[in-house]
């Protein structure tokens, strides 16, 4: 049997009836010890016998490709093959694509694309041959600057924003620019492929295996049933591993050609080019407010970029549709077509930069109105979706702001900027709201119950988020088993298809599938006991019905029971607007001599439904807040203005925050009971914590020293230009 649930409306909350007490507790990750002792093999750390090694060859610019010395490369000692198969892919697939991205090695769509694979007996030989490749590329000067292109896309309009701006007591019209950003996951993209007859197994580092399997099958021209994908451990994804990437397809093709396993790992410098980047953006934000700070008009127009034939465009304005009330609205995205590496989903695509810029603009408006920035936000919380009229499934913005403010100590804040100074440092605080759409997607899971305990099986991935932990908890809770008697197997397409990790929907989606599979087992146990499932209490390996208790093992009588769960997105997604809400608070110090910014403390206050495991949830929030610091202060891909190649493509030059940049981060969860999100009442969290985090930092910078940085990141040169009234030096290519 399978219990299938299509989430069309509210779900009853049954977790409080369960007695094991695992859900909501801080269990440690079951796979944690393996990871920290180096025993959890990542994609390229578990190589089959006889494995050959491949390195992708780079095109130095865009255009028609001619590999000049192919024969010489093939003849290099130790080289097994120079592969330029038309099935090889030119970029990473978009998340959930389920089909091949652009294929063929005769064109380079952007500088840095891979145009061949060299396979050799050793990694060193393959790498050397890849370096020796003479790649001639023939093409006109590429379009690389998004600001200089024709654009596509029209904004949605409600009412008349222009008129509202003209008539408003206060009107703000500002433009923010945000650089392109890299996910910069620790584990580089890697794949090991081997064939068994006409079936291929690819051990790789990907986030959404059921889609990746189809993408690989489509690339290889075979049926998905003949592709097995393994990703038991993923060393960070952040969206960069949503879709299949060039090394995986190349490894599979090479393994077929050579009749032996092939391992291809992207070098760090390749990861910065071959993996989908977050688009840069230019965001025009207009706010029209009445005397009391009520918004009468709101405009959010974004310009993003992508390759000419890509469907994805960073949905910068996604949350602006529902975040704040205002009658007159103009919201939308435009896309410029440029020869920069493929743009795709990076952690909280859209809101990460869209909410962050918008929340900076809200701070500007609060300053102009002489109104507390929290009060401004509280005044503009809509009763229902401002454009569609949909009710909100739950709306916790007011609570996250007020509870966060109290914990952070916002109340004593002097609103005027440039008031607090310690030596050379200006000190200030800033606040931002956070919004992120909440998603549920189809997922399946199976639980096998034996006298040893329960084993959860799904092709879901754990990309460092804590999936192993929370699925253990959910199964243990429903089946009355302690943590030690539940094992979780993930990351194998031979297992039932879970949701994959993306869009923060993993916990709620695959978690629900596991829950339903456990309900299936509970029903089977109840049948054996002749009672109603609802009357069954399972705890510590025992079943209790009325006054009788019996070990679960006795009920099983040596049998193996299997439960299946299947959750599907239903009409709930249309009936109500589901979202998660948060508030970020930051204290920043700005050096008056150098323009350097140091974040001193941050507090994030979040409402994300039921918190399944506070420890792993908090860790997600720490990550998101840290990304916010990077977005505000340090991160940005730099593209060469002549050919569009990524200039800063290593971790020394692409500046993610290091430990010294990250102060104590406090995380507070607001209780939320949102029955629309599925049977667990859980919501997404990993992405929420990045949305707006950078705005709290940048608003704190303004409060500290009076400088608004509208061109991110706020590096010392830009802060200094503001501090001293120097003209901002053009920041070459970092747009």
């Amino acid at each position: 049997m399978t219990i299938t649930l299509k989430v069309d409306g509210k779900s009853p909350d049954r977790i409080p009836d369960m007695k094991q007490g695992l859900v909501g507790t801080e269990i440690a990750r079951p796979e944690g010890p393996l990871k920290v002792t180096g025993q959890a093999p990542y994609a390229a750390e578990d190589l089959p016998e006889g494995c050959a090694f491949g390195t992708l060859v780079r095109a130095p610019r865009w255009g028609k490709v001619n590999l000049r010395n192919e024969e010489r490369l093939a003849a290099m000692p130790g080289v097994l093959s120079v592969l330029r198969d038309p099935a090889m892919i030119r970029r990473t697939a978009q998340g959930g694509a389920g089909k091949a991205p652009a294929q063929g090695m005769d064109e380079a769509d952007f500088a840095g694309q891979s145009v061949a694979l060299i396979v050799a007996e050793s990694f060193e030989v393959a790498r050397d041959a890849a370096r020796a490749a003479v790649v001639a590329v023939d093409g006109p000067a590429p379009a690389v600057d998004p600001d200089q292109q024709e654009t596509e896309g029209e904004p949605d309009s409600h009412g008349d924003l222009e008129a509202a701006m003209r008539g408003a007591a206060h009107a703000l019209d500002v433009t923010y620019t945000t650089p392109s950003m890299a996910a910069a996951a620790m584990e580089p993209h890697a794949a090991v492929a081997w064939w068994d007859g006409d079936g291929v197994t690819v051990r790789t580092s990907l986030q959404m295996l059921k889609h990746n399997r189809k993408e690989l099958a489509d690339c290889l021209g075979i049926d998905p049933s003949r592709v097995r994908v393994l990703s038991p451990y993923v060393g960070g994804g952040f969206g960069s591993k949503l879709g299949v990437s060039p090394e995986a397809v190349a490894a599979a093709l090479a393994a077929k050609t050579l009749g032996r396993p092939v391992c291809v790992v992207q070098e760090r410098r390749q990861v910065f080019e071959l993996v989908n980047r977050r688009s840069e953006s230019r965001q025009r934000i207009r706010l029209a407010a009445d005397e009391d700070g009520r918004l009468v008009g709101l405009g959010h127009e974004a310009l993003v970029s992508n390759l000419p034939d890509e469907g994805f465009s960073e949905p910068v304005t996604q949350a602006s549709h529902f975040a704040y009330a205002a009658e007159n609205r103009l919201i939308g995205n435009r896309v410029a077509r440029v020869r920069r590496p493929n743009a795709g989903s990076v952690r909280a695509p859209g809101e990460a930069i869209g909410v962050t810029a918008f929340e900076c603009a809200m701070d500007e408006l609060a300053s102009a109105l002489d109104l507390d920035p929290i009060a401004l936000r509280l005044r503009n919380i809509p009763d229902a979706h401002p454009e569609t009229g949909q009710p909100f499934s739950s709306h916790k913005l007011a609570q996250v702001l007020t509870e966060g403010a109290e914990r952070f100590g916002w109340q004593d804040r002097d609103p005027a900027p440039r008031q607090r100074r310690e030596g050379e440092w200006w000190i200030g605080t800033g606040v931002s709201a956070a919004f992120r759409v909440n998603l549920l997607t189809e997922a399946e899971a199976r639980i096998t119950l034996t006298s040893d305990g329960a084993r959860v099986d799904t092709d879901m991935t754990d990309i460092g988020t804590g999936t192993y932990a929370i699925l253990t908890q959910i199964a243990g809770e429903a089946l009355g088993l302690p943590q030690g008697r539940v094992t979780v197997r993930l990351g194998d397409t031979d297992l039932p298809p879970g949701s994959g990790s993306g869009g923060s929907f993993g916990a709620a989606s695959t978690g629900s599938a596991v829950w339903l599979a456990a309900l299936d087992l509970r029903q089977q146990l109840a049948t054996r006991l002749g009672c109603d499932e609802a009357d069954l209490t399972l705890q510590d390996g025992e079943a209790r019905v009325a006054n009788t208790r019996q070990p679960i093992t006795e009920i099983l009588k040596g049998d193996t029971l299997t439960g299946h769960g299947h959750v599907q997105k239903g009409e709930a997604a249309q009936k109500v607007r589901q979202a998660t809400y948060g508030a970020h608070f930051a204290e920043a110090a700005v050096n008056d001599v150098t323009g350097e910014v140091r974040v001193r403390r941050m507090l994030g206050s979040f409402a994300a439904g039921r918190i399944l495991n506070p420890r792993t949830a908090r860790s997600q929030c720490h990550g998101g807040m840290t990304w916010g610091i990077g977005m505000a202060l340090t991160e940005g891909l730099v593209f060469d203005r002549r050919d569009g190649h990524v200039v800063n493509r290593d971790l020394a030059e692409y500046h993610v925050p290091v430990n010294a940049d990250v102060p104590p981060l406090d995380v507070h969860f607001v209780d939320e009971h949102d029955p629309w999100t599925g049977p667990l009442l859980a919501k997404g969290i990993g992405e929420l914590a990045i949305c707006g985090a950078g705005a709290a930092v940048l608003n704190a910078v303004h409060h500290a020293c009076g400088v608004r940085i509208r061109d991110w990141p706020a590096t010392p040169d830009k802060v200094l230009a503001g501090l001293d009234g120097w003209p901002v030096p053009a920041t070459a290519g970092s747009d």
Binding site: R269, V593, T634, E653, H655, T715, L720, A732
Partner: protein, 323 residues
Amino acid sequence: MRPFDYHRARDLQDAQTDYVSGAAFIAGGTNLLDLMKLQVMTPERLVDISRLGLDRIEDDGDGLRIGATVTNSDLAADPRVRRRWPVLSRALLAGASGQLRNKATTGGNLLQRTRCPYFYDPDTPCNKRDPGSGCAAMGGELRNHAVLGTSAHCLALSPGDMPVALRALDAVIEIRGTDGRTRAQPMEGFHRLPGDTPERETVLDPGELITAVRLPAPRGDRQVYRKVRDRASYAFALVSVAAVLRLEGGVISHAALGFGGLGTVPWRDPEVDALLTAERPSAALFDEAATLLLRGAEPREGTAFKLPLARRVLRAVLEEATQ
């Protein structure tokens, strides 16, 4: 594959006999190995100098003699250095990361190569990497590039922190020539301006070995190292200043300033030092020093910010050192 031989030298003589054309000495390897992986440097032979007993810090009259393979971590932590040459300790600790400093050596640090991203990218022309091929940085994206000492052939910045402090401390580099004789080379003149041979970065000839760095007794007790960077740690200097000053009766009697983040070599300007010497500290004087320092600077789009930044940092450092 590019095979290379590896030889672990037993002693100085052995190290140098073993050095053949196309070889490279390897110390901590933190710079060399990265560049080898990218094939920016392609030595055919590595001569490992890490076990030659050059890892000692010894008293040297009233100064110190620092062996070439003393690690950055050990040097920064040495109590003598921390007490009498604190600017050196600070400069070292401002560089790289703890893990790198544990491997990086004194000699290697002096010879670390530029971080110009075009130098690191063999798909672009670079006169330093590939003499005569051109300079991709010109007309490209600049930030970590020099504004002082540049030439029509190269804008590459000297990235190090330690060498900036060594300049202000009048350190002397002990070089063992291929003939086995040791000579003393002041920091001044050790690094070469790029001119039309940006590939030649120092006065070392092939096969010559740095054996030690000598620190004379500090000529100033007021020592400051200040580094401005794009993140709190693990980033190269946008601008850095090393100051070694002495004040007598309210008058600056010794001034030695080293600068990082600005020059194609670790920068020191004798005229700036002279301007400050025998003067009373004042804001006007510090400003004048900055103007003098930057008189020949060539700011470009992307590096122009370094001028006002250097001015501000210099002023702050001098204020701190003369308080």
